[in-house]
């Protein structure tokens, strides 16, 4: 989010997913696209079939990496030097788009000066990617007319996540591969509505549609509509919320005033947030905890009050996907039992507080969103019905939505080069903790498994926590397929069934966080990116040993 916001001015996919069909080069980074974004992956497969080149940057040899023309199997956490190396090659080979840089960007000289300091041999040593491959990647990406970058959490979930993203933006600007159809920088959002949640200001520092909290005009507009004065102070980030109150938390500033109560909706930080012990301490220290969810999650168990919420199938509303497309979801069944939709729960609470929210339907709520949020100005339910939805920005009823961003100019005016430097991972490997653990998601489960682990078929496909390990490491540890491994970090312990696979590089392990039996986030580190506050889920140091039966 923050990375693209500072460079381009807007933190979302610049292209539409369909535009991938016409790309000549697709660069996929930190994304197990086949499993996490199958609908994007199929377009990539399709355009590869039509002759496009595929470059994958990933420490794991994932399915899409096997499919690539070029797989840069970098050492985790070395995106910035790798990208700098690629950009240096582009400069060396004179593949820079001078006109684009001149007309559309700023701060290029700082960028160029930095790149000229780069030593490719050193990059190769840091990243574990050969010079030859770096140069090849540079040529393939820069020489094509329509190159697209797709990246995902493998890029952002690092302490230098913002800087990682900026490096990809730098690369795109250096070659003029942005601001046009069929070429751009596309962050793939993890969940069906994470984009929508951000758009609706589930962020600490903005109002809906990324309108500034500090802008008196904006504040006034909301005041008029809602009839109340909006607080001027920014909120706190999720990690500060779940770790800030804990007496044991390291690396987090104690909040000026500790949070005393929380209302958590559809989120299960007791499995999904790093440093679960801290999260638990924080939640237990609260005076009052309310959780609204469709099942009694690990977090809901700690709550004073639990609201039974309705599932997606029981309500009408919109979701916004990666490509900024707002889509209407139709109610399939009426809410089961005593459950209520989130808006009904919130309205109920608000009215007990003495503030009546009288919306007769979610269409009426959407009308208010249209009124107050310029990005969503024309997203009325009747327009979304019976169609594939509209892509923001969509200013009014006559606006057809926006296929790709930054047409003619970047949202922030000129695109800004942000030179980045290598940042070592927060937790280096050591003799005691020699393995690097990467965490991610599996195909058959969603997030903390609240829903998917209740499906018999999905559970049959994936029924227990696995850890992926290179066969050589397995051999050294005396492990065979199906053996149990105990994995320890400085913070916690989990047991996994081992899968020996050459998807992994030696010395690196991979697991997903869907299983409460192996709460992986007791292992992960709670250090995070200083800007976006996104935790370093992708790297922590662990040791592994066979569990004797």
């Amino acid at each position: 989010m923050a990375g693209l916001a500072t460079t381009f001015g807007s933190g979302a996919m610049t292209n539409s997913i369909n535009e991938l069909d016409h790309a000549q080069v697709v660069l996929v980074s930190g994304s197990n696209t086949t499993e996490a974004h199958p609908q994007v992956a199929r377009r990539i497969y399709g355009c590869v079939d039509r002759g496009a080149k595929l470059i994958v940057i990933d420490p794991r040899r994932t399915k899409i990496a096997r499919y690539a023309d070029l797989h840069l199997q970098l050492r985790p956490g070395t995106d910035i030097p790798l990208l700098n190396g690629i950009m240096r090659s582009i400069i060396d080979e004179n593949l820079v788009d001078d006109l684009f840089i001149e007309m559309r960007t700023e701060n290029f000289f700082a960028m160029r000066d930095m790149l000229l300091q780069i030593d490719l041999d050193q990059v190769a040593a840091t990243t574990n990617v050969s010079k030859c491959m770096i140069r090849q990647a540079a040529r393939i990406y820069a020489q094509a007319q329509r190159s697209v970058i797709c990246y995902c959490l493998g890029v952002t979930q690092h302490i230098c996540g913002t800087s990682n993203v900026q490096s990809y933006a730098n690369l795109a600007m250096l070659t003029g591969h942005v601001e046009q159809e069929f070429t751009g920088v596309d962050p793939l959002r993890g969940q069906n509505n994470v984009q929508g949640a951000c758009d609706m200001a589930a962020l600490p520092n903005v109002l809906p549609g990324y309108q500034s909290l500090d802008d008196p005009g904006v504040r006034n507009k909301f005041k008029q509509s809602w009839g109340v004065e909006l607080p001027k102070t920014q909120g706190v980030t999720l990690l500060d919320m779940t770790h800030g109150g804990s007496v044991w938390s390291e690396g987090f500033e104690q909040l000026p005033e500790p949070i005393r109560a929380m209302y958590i909706m559809g989120e299960n930080p007791m499995l999904s947030d790093p440093g679960i012990k801290h999260v638990e301490a924080t939640l237990r220290d609260l005076d009052f905890l309310v959780v609204a969810d469709i099942f009694l999650t690990e977090t809901a168990v700690l709550a004073d009050v639990v609201f039974p919420a309705a599932s997606f199938a029981e309500k009408i509303g919109t979701v916004t996907n990666s490509e900024r497309r707002v889509q209407l979801m139709n109610q399939a069944i009426t809410p089961v039992g005593n459950s209520r939709t989130d808006d009904k729960i919130i309205a109920g609470i608000a009215s007990r507080f003495g503030y009546d929210m009288e919306y007769e339907s979610s269409a009426e709520i959407m009308e208010e969103i249209c009124l107050l949020t310029p990005l969503y100005g024309g997203m009325y339910h009747d327009r979304l019905k019976g169609s594939w939805g509209l892509q923001w920005p969509c200013s009014d009823r006559t606006h057809d939505g926006t296929q790709y961003l930054h047409k003619y100019s970047f949202t922030r005016g000129r695109g800004r080069f942000e030179p980045g430097d290598h940042v070592e991972p927060a937790e280096p490997l050591s003799e005691e903790y020699p393995f690097l653990l990467i965490t991610g998601r599996a195909y058959h489960h969603y997030h903390t498994g609240t829903m998917t682990r209740r499906s018999h078929t999905l559970v049959r496909e994936h029924d227990r926590p696995y850890i992926d390990m290179h066969p050589e490491d397995g051999k050294r540890l005396g492990l065979q397929r199906g053996d149990m491994v105990q994995v320890d970090s400085r913070r916690g312990t989990c047991n996994f069934t081992v899968k020996l696979t050459d998807q992994m590089a030696p010395g690196e392990l991979y697991c997903d966080f869907h299983f409460h039996e192996a709460p992986v986030n007791t292992l992960t580190i709670s250090c995070s990116d200083p800007v976006a506050r996104c935790p370093e889920f992708k790297i922590c140091a662990v040791k592994a040993e066979k569990v004797a039966l």
């Binding site: 199929r42 195909y443 018999h456 496909e461």
Partner: protein
């Protein structure tokens, strides 16, 4: 004995209204989101019956629901002995006579095919049979095959010669009606006011349409040749790995396939003392499909699973039933976003064999 009649298009809904007095109606209905689906019709006047598009679902779920309760069980601990008592109570199927209207040849053929599995393979599945016994079919011949259709290649359309009760052919302002099974004849007899005898000219017109329809297929799929090749030799190397690398393991192909009837049975505990035994659609492309106790799996990798599905359709079912278990409806082609569909497979098998040039 086939009778031939005409039914004015204006009379279709009035006819259905009469039929609906003693039957439930199921027909392709265009819903408010623009999808055409076989649906129960509760109100004939408000339902938008859509005979112009291929329904996205087949009739499979009407005979074999996606999930279905087989029984309820109780587990009681005897306070005296501490022993467990364990009893099952069967769930009986609620079903009433149903008229399935606007069923195209592929889907009708598929019902006949699934009959072999559920009724004639060994044991009779009483859940399926109850629904099947209640079924009455008014089929619709396909004058205009859809883009991914290839029922001509699987010999299951576009016009039917058997299986239906009544088959309608669209002759513009009227339907040409053929009676198949005895129930169809009975309808014509009971509701004679709607039907008038067809002339020889009408019959010729229908015959002409049937001929033309055969020429309108956009896909040329050599299903029989592929079956023959597979009988003679292993499938050419590389095809399976190429296709399986695109398979997302979503089972969409098996779920939309009108002849894929594999199912799972699982217990769903309701509390400590009771639960339900549920059966649900399953798919051989799932890794867990053949997984045995202790994680032993005779069908190991993804490519083997994809292979198994295609060979089952084109080779093993030919050996068992004398014809492939594909009816050419094209739904797996529509739904698979990896292109891992039966046409891709057939095309690749045929393409790699030299003598395919001699065909057609």
């Amino acid at each position: 004995m086939t009778g031939r009649y005409l039914l004015a298009k204006d009379h279709l809904v009035p006819l259905l209204r009469k039929i609906a007095k003693s039957n439930r109606l199921v027909a392709p209905v265009l819903n408010e989101y623009g999808d055409t689906l076989f649906s129960h019709i509760t109100d004939l006047d408000s339902a938008a019956i859509d005979l112009a598009h291929q329904p996205q679902n087949s009739l499979k779920s009407f005979f074999f629901p996606q999930t279905e309760k087989l029984s309820t069980y109780l587990v009681e601990k005897s306070p005296k002995t501490g022993n467990v008592r364990y009893n099952f109570y069967p769930h009986t199927v609620e079903n009433q006579p149903t008229a399935y209207v606007g069923v195209r040849s592929c889907d009708m053929f598929a019902v006949m095919y699934t009959d072999m599995t559920f009724l004639h393979n060994g044991e009779r599945d009483n859940y399926y049979q109850k629904r099947r016994d209640n079924a009455f079919f008014i089929t619709l011949a396909c004058n205009h095959p859809f883009p991914n259709c290839f029922c001509n290649a699987t010999r299951s359309g576009p016009f039917l010669e058997l299986g239906y009760d009544l088959q309608l052919t669209d002759l513009g302002d009227r339907y040409f009606v053929e009676t198949g099974r005895s129930r169809g004849m009975k309808i014509v007899e009971q509701m004679g006011q709607f039907f008038k005898p067809a002339s020889e000219a009408d019959r010729r017109e229908q015959f002409q349409l049937a001929l033309e329809a055969r020429g309108l297929f956009q896909r040329n799929v050599h299903v029989e040749l592929a079956s023959k090749i597979l009988q003679e030799q292993d499938e050419p190397v590389g095809i399976i790995s190429e296709l399986s690398s695109r398979c997302q393991d979503c089972a969409g192909c098996a779920y939309v396939c009108p002849t894929c009837t594999c199912f799972n049975i699982a217990d769903l505990p309701l509390d400590e003392e009771s639960g339900e035994r549920i059966r649900s659609w399953d798919a051989c492309t799932f890794a867990g499909f053949s997984k045995m106790a202790g994680d032993h799996n005779p069908v190991q990798c993804e490519s083997q699973r994809v292979r198994k599905r295609f060979l089952h359709k084109l080779l093993h079912d030919v050996a068992k039933h004398g014809r492939p278990s594909c009816v050419g409806c094209g739904r797996c082609v529509d739904i698979c976003f990896g292109g891992v569909d039966i046409i891709s497979f057939v095309d690749r098998v045929v393409k790699t064999i030299d003598h395919c040039r001699d065909v057609d």
